[in-house]
Symmetry: C2
Subunit: 164 residues, 2 copies
């Protein structure tokens, strides 16, 4: 997907993003977030707690996704960052996740981070696992049954890592 724009997410963007966020966490296939999280708690989690959050739009101005970037730990662990990505259902399969991950790595490097870590990639989310691997991430650990998948039951999660 070409001509994507990345801008800091504002309140209007989050309102456009909320149906996507709400559907993804309600589904309980990929994110370890309360499925009935409130709008305000979601805004805090996605936009206020992280160091940066981007709204991603296509060339027509349509919102296609969003991601956040934050430190994964503090002090002596503060050189490793963490990101989360969500794509709108209409924009799936068009390379938005790849574009977001590449953008996030550039932003993370610019902010001085030396590595990126995903703490809990649900093992059954094979599309995501394969994409992160193609983008240079390695599975450095697997936590048994750490995720209660809404249709598959207890499934493993992967810790994935890449030096930037």
């Amino acid at each position: 997907m070409s001509a994507l724009s990345f801008t800091p997410m504002d309140h209007d963007d989050f309102e456009l993003f909320w149906p996507t966020f709400k559907a993804i966490v309600a589904e309980q296939y990929t994110y370890a977030i309360e499925p009935d999280i409130s709008y305000q708690a979601a805004y805090t989690l996605w936009c206020e707690t992280p160091k940066a959050t981007f709204a991603v739009k296509d060339s027509t101005g349509e919102l296609v996704g969003s991601y956040y970037l934050k430190a994964n730990a503090s002090g002596p662990g503060g050189h490793v960052c963490n990101c989360g990505y969500m794509v709108t259902s209409a924009a799936r399969g068009k390379g938005v996740a790849r574009a977001m991950c590449e953008h996030s790595q550039t932003m993370a490097q610019a902010a001085g981070f030396q590595a990126m870590q995903f703490n809990a990639v649900v093992s059954t989310n094979e599309v995501a696992v394969a994409l992160w691997q193609r983008l240079g991430f390695s599975i450095v650990g697997t936590v048994p049954k750490a995720y209660r998948h809404a249709s598959l039951g207890w499934v493993d999660t992967h810790v994935m890592h890449k030096f930037l």
Copy 2:
């Protein structure tokens, strides 16, 4: 060490605990916490964010350590808990960490958690790694150079896990 008491940590306990907390994070050998964290931020992190925090005292009433217990993730990840333990310098080598970890597993089970996960056990903290292994935890992942050790430089961290 026998006759330890475990009570919910109150403000007075935290004041007794603060020199231990401050020294451990300033040392930068084991915890990924800002080394110059403020008293208030430390109180929030250790006592307010977790589900429960315990002050541990010996039979003379002396504070020997503290631990917190919290969920390691939310929603479909909320069945896995996380704990952090600190022992006062005077009480090291007396089994306090073991006693705290055993107590925390009992508390975690009572709260309905099904597993306990440590996200970043510094690999050079061999005493801790060996103790958690003796207590039934497994290394399920290793993140390369995720911790900047104050005297050893970049060192790995382990993800450790145990079903309860």
